[in-house]
């Protein structure tokens, strides 16, 4: 007899709120008070969506906005296939499932591999929302610690192996990485894939930042034939086309059991939004045309951020090779307190900055407590000014909250 109190689930209580979004309400309040807020907290692209999308909507005409097939519209699936081919990644249409953003692809991948109580290895700091999907699925993320002081490079194989237990089912990684901007080297990829083969693990590769690679190209594990039964690729149109609001992603795998399971999960939620699936087809089919100018702009921004940070004393950071984030170690005790103070109280000439405290990107308690993640989501002038403001704020904060 269920006579206990009316309480929500443990996962509902314990799931992590987004550290990226939780200071947003304060920022809105501050703006109403006349303060200009530079948003460096979120990967919300500021550049326009491609013109061809605007055109698409203008000419869109369908009598009924119907459900799409659960695996995706055939033409959207083919467009993903063609997109992948440009990167020498070969999937058949039957090996691709269109998802509601990369988010749903990650959630489906985790549930297809893991039952409640199973474990997935991640490299921390990692994309914070992996936590949410793991909580929802009842799966435990096991973080392998990387360090800013060591350029976020992977530890040797023997160290990673220590994290593997009887419940470990997969390694999940983002390359180029959100939030570190690190791109794994060939050796690092080899270590990961060797471990996967030795311990019979799946590999979930989140490659949504594929094109955002400034110093070296990332190595897609989808190109390694011997791994084909254990690789799941997670992808998204959001960042590379400035189409975050369309929520179109994909999951691809050559493992038929995985695709069968994901297809059944897809059937449960019926379909992905039809018009959004249609809107990205021209982008996927001519991807370089749209991604190149975007990536060039972010390359410029990466260089400027890196240079500007050198003027701030006592901070640590690693030059990101890809994506559009940087993790910065601050000379403060608690970056969440700093970020809250920064958005709530600080201003210089009525301007301030919104940052994402990095603790939410770690699973190990106490790790990242003095770090923030900064996203390059502003034009060059505003970026420079933002970093100037961060420098001033650190000085002032240290005076105010000196030990």
């Amino acid at each position: 007899m269920a006579l206990s109190q009316l309480t929500i689930s443990n996962r509902g209580r314990e799931v992590q709120g987004s550290p990226i979004r939780k200071l947003a309400a304060i920022a809105e309040k501050r703006k109403r008070e006349g303060i200009r807020v530079y948003h460096l907290n979120i990967g919300q692209p500021d550049l326009p969506s491609p013109e061809v999308v605007q055109q698409f909507f203008k000419t869109f005409s369908r009598r009924t906005i119907e459900y799409a097939p659960s695996n995706g519209l055939p033409e959207t699936i083919s467009a993903w296939r063609k997109y992948f081919e440009n990167y020498d990644i070969y999937f058949d249409d039957e090996e691709i499932i269109v998802t509601t953003g990369g988010s749903e692809a990650i959630a489906f991948a985790i549930s297809a591999i893991c039952d409640p109580g199973d474990e997935v290895i991640v490299f921390e700091p990692f994309y914070t929302n992996y936590n949410g999907f793991a909580s929802l699925a009842g799966v435990k993320l096991v973080p392998v610690e990387l360090n800013i002081s060591n350029s976020f490079s992977l530890p040797p194989k023997e160290v990673i192996e220590k994290y593997i237990t009887i419940r470990t089912k997969a390694i999940l990684f983002c390359d180029p990485s959100n939030p570190t901007g690190r791109i794994f080297t060939e050796d690092e990829i080899r270590n990961i894939t060797d471990i996967a083969r030795t311990y019979n693990l799946f590999l979930i590769a989140d490659e949504v930042y594929r094109e955002f690679a400034y110093d070296r190209k990332p190595i897609s594990i989808a190109r390694i034939p011997e791994l084909s039964d254990r690789v799941i690729i997670v992808d998204s149109c959001s960042k590379r086309f400035n189409m975050c609001g369309a929520r179109i992603g994909a999951l691809a795998s050559k493992n038929k059991d995985i695709i069968d399971a994901v297809l059944k999960f897809s059937m449960a939620r019926l379909s992905v939004a039809t018009i959004d699936q249609l809107s990205v087809i021209p982008l996927l089919e001519n991807s370089a045309l749209y991604t190149q100018p975007i990536v060039e702009e972010f390359h410029k921004r990466r260089d400027i951020v890196y240079e500007a940070l050198s003027t701030i004393p006592e901070i640590t950071y690693y030059k990101p090779e890809g994506a559009f984030y940087i993790i910065i170690g601050l000379p403060v005790k608690d970056s969440e307190h700093f970020a809250k103070w920064l958005i709530e109280e600080f201003h210089e000439n009525k301007e301030t900055v919104l940052l994402a405290p990095a603790q939410g990107f770690y699973a190990t308690p106490g790790k990242g407590i003095n770090e923030v993640r900064l996203a390059f989501m502003l034009n060059v002038v505003d970026l420079k000014r933002s970093i100037e403001l961060i420098g001033r704020a650190i000085q002032q904060y240290k005076t105010l909250f000196a030990e």
Copy 2:
């Protein structure tokens, strides 16, 4: 050490494929062979989406298709609030979260209430996709059997109480019901809510067919103030506006813990498609204008289906009071075999029918094995012809597969 075989998860293997969609591939093949297929298997509306939506897309112009806030665009949330008010259902904006279809709302509701291993009571036959969401969440659906012969009415309280265990967290029901078309009476709603209060259970009410009510109005449990801490309303624009492909739903609750949990789940998946959220605003704000003609048409169809079925001997069915489905008991042993034969081999004048075997709408093994679900998704003429074809097919099938 994880040295076991590379195998997918149990939930990935065991999750039910959609019984509604699994014969679809055969139907496509048959069409290529020149056979006309009447689709009565799926709730894919055949009527046009409202003209105002077409206009919206034509005039849509936003520089960047950005992420929406995780709880929904403020204007879409307000539109849902206003929509509910028309039915004397009062939620504040903070009590509403926009979801990717009613599907995501159900998934979020289950996970906010239940941990893996917890139980939710459903009345079978029930919307088959509840199975998928429960599997994904590691939650057990406990079916209370209803019977076609008893008009799918609820059993007395004492019978329902027998299904409650220490793990029971909620009762989930769809009213008007997919797949039975039943609308609960005042007494039935009272029994459900009494049980919820006695045993401290949450109530998840899937009200996506609210307007599709021909003989009596459904009673929304959101209107019962004493229940406000235990009620979660699941809703969707899909059916009532012929906007299935937009994937815009909502979850609403006055329980702050539930909303907090669902908001955190929402943050993990970032947002619901922006343009689709915008497209439904005019529909929600003037809902009666758009739902009335649609509901009138389905009322007509319900009457015609009911009348036409009376010409087929040896079948059983219950006159649906709402929604747009009917469960039919057939004089065959295995309706899946029949439905497959019907779409794969049968035709009369090069015409045949696609039906959904009803077994997938039951969780009790063996239940519904001779039943099919029929959706009223065709115009009056085609509906009549479809039912004529079903009658002929039954005759022929019985001759072919006589014991």
